[in-house]
Every structure is written in C-alpha cells, then in structure tokens.
Symmetry: C2
C-alpha cells in the first residue's frame, strides 16, 4: 500500500540561503559600517542600518541573490528528508519580482535534487498545502494550515509560540529521528 | 464574526490568458499553416503542428507571454468573485522559468486588483491550499485537496469527471448565483 508521505514546505531566504549574511557584508562595505549578526538580535536590519529601508534595495539586484551561500547542512538534510517526506520549497518571491529567475537558478544549482514541480514562489504562505512549514517569519504561520516550525534568525530570537530549530542539524533531529 | 471566505485558485494560461490563441497565430505565420481552434479539439497542439514539440518554444520567449489577450469577462468576474471568496492565481510557471517576470507583469497590468501576495507560481498544484481550482488541465486535479473545476479548452473537450465551465460567464453562474 502506498502511504501518502507527509509534506514539508521550506522557506528559502535565511533558511536554505544565507541572505542576511551577504546583505550585512554588502551593507558594511557600501556604508562603511561594521554591523555584525549580534547587532541584529531581535531587530530588523532596517532599524539598525544607517540607510534604513534603503538597505533592502540590494534584493532588487538579481546578481545579489544569485550567489548566496547555502546554509550549513541544508543540502544533506533536505536530501534525507525527501526519503520520508514530500519536500517543497516555498519562497515569498512575490515581494521582489526581480528575484524570480535568480532564485530559481540558485535552487537548481545548489538543490538539483528538488524538482521544479516542487518549487513554489508565492506571497501569503497560507496558500501552501503542507503539514509543516519551516520558516523564519512567524507571520507566515498565522493562517498556515499545518504546523509552523520557526527557523532561528537574528530577527526572530525573541519570538515564542512555535517549535524552534536553530540549524539544519536540529531539523534532522526533529524530523528524522 | 469574521467568517473565513472560501478560496478559489485560478490557473492563468488558457483560463485568464488566451495563450493558445496567440500560439496558433504565431505558428500559422511562421510555419505557413492554417490551423484553427477546431483543429485542436481533443488534441494537443504538438500532435497537429508540423513542427511537433518545437511549437512550445514560443513559450521560452518572454515577449510572447507579455501581450496575451485577456479571456473575455475574466476581469469583471474575478473582481466580483473577490467580494465573496479569497482569490489566488496559481500558474504552473515552473515549467517555463523564463516566463516568471512576463507572467507577473501581465497579471499586474490586466488584474491589478489581485495583490502580489495572492499570485503563486508553482509546478504541482497539489501544493495549493484552496477549496476550488479552476484549471484547463485535469492532471492538476488528481492530488488537489479541493474541488477541481475544468475550464474548457480545445485539448480537454473530451474529458469527463469534473464540473466543467466553458467561459467566465459560466464561472459567474457557478460561484455567484
């Protein structure tokens, strides 16, 4: 009997891709600042950056998104998850339409074992039909039909109310033990 | 009391956008043929086109997708649906990654009342969490959790097993009466 696998949807930025790491490096270089990840604990970058909201303009450059670092252990763990779960990537790409192609190419390069049929670019993730959503933004969990799993990022360290994982090793602990 | 609206997800190609109409015109011009919609009844274009599968290469040109005609009555009916339902667009854009930006811009131009947060580019539409999916491809209904509504297109006229609508007036009849 073919038992339906449970489904895990995985956010891309700050979960699979180290978006903020590169953003910090670019910002520090261009604005002659020296912010670290520690400076971002419990805060949004826009609140500590000299340029405020302007700091997010880096996202409008497709080249910025194309060479992000892969989060440690994410490739091995996601590949292992696929044996027991149906895995989808769910990225809120509609916020930055210029990012579509760069995001897609990045995923195909670094996660070639995730088929394009299982990549979703959306806005409001309540449209995702999955059992679990691993994401760094709790606002995406509010109307999500499954269980939200909060992936730790500097901006969310003070949030409570959802199971939390700090890294991909902890994702493996949670889903594969 | 705020009652949760039911959700309708709507396919884009051949439901909101007249993709095949333009494809036929371009094919007839470039291959000196004179195929009509009637020639496509119950068939795939690739089976009747002189060039076979090559005919789908038009989709790889973003300019092709950018100026598709809007399906008759779709704008008015979708706007009316929004009063009673939560409406999402769900396009299988992952099949043609070059199409992302053109599709997004086309939607923003012709359906500006659908917010980007409610646009989804995906592959396998079983990932869509909605009560209804209006689509011209029955294979998208197989694992969809809600009710599939088949939107008539030349290629699907012989298919049975799902409620069928031939045009947007019939969508209005079904959902708004």
């Amino acid at each position: 009997m073919d038992v339906q696998k449970k489904r895990i949807a995985i956010d891309m930025d700050e979960v699979m891709a180290d978006t903020v790491g590169k953003l910090l490096r670019c910002y520090n270089r261009d604005y002659d600042d020296c912010l670290t990840m520690a400076d971002l604990r419990g805060k949004k970058l826009r609140h500590v950056a000299k340029c405020g909201l302007e700091v997010y303009r880096y996202f409008e450059d497709p080249a910025f998104l194309r060479d992000l670092d892969v989060m440690p252990d994410s490739q091995e763990v996601i590949r292992a998850l696929q044996d027991r779960y149906e895995v989808f990537v769910a990225s809120a790409a509609m916020e930055v339409p210029a990012s579509f192609t760069a995001k897609f190419e990045w995923l195909r390069e670094h996660f070639p074992f995730i088929p394009p049929s299982h990549i979703v670019f959306c806005g409001d993730k309540s449209i995702i039909n999955a059992d679990y959503l691993i994401d760094d933004h709790t606002y995406q969990f509010a109307r999500f039909r499954g269980q939200g799993i909060l992936f730790t990022a500097a901006h969310n360290v003070e949030e409570t109310g959802y199971p939390r994982v700090d890294n991909w090793r902890q994702v493996a602990e949670l889903f594969l033990k």
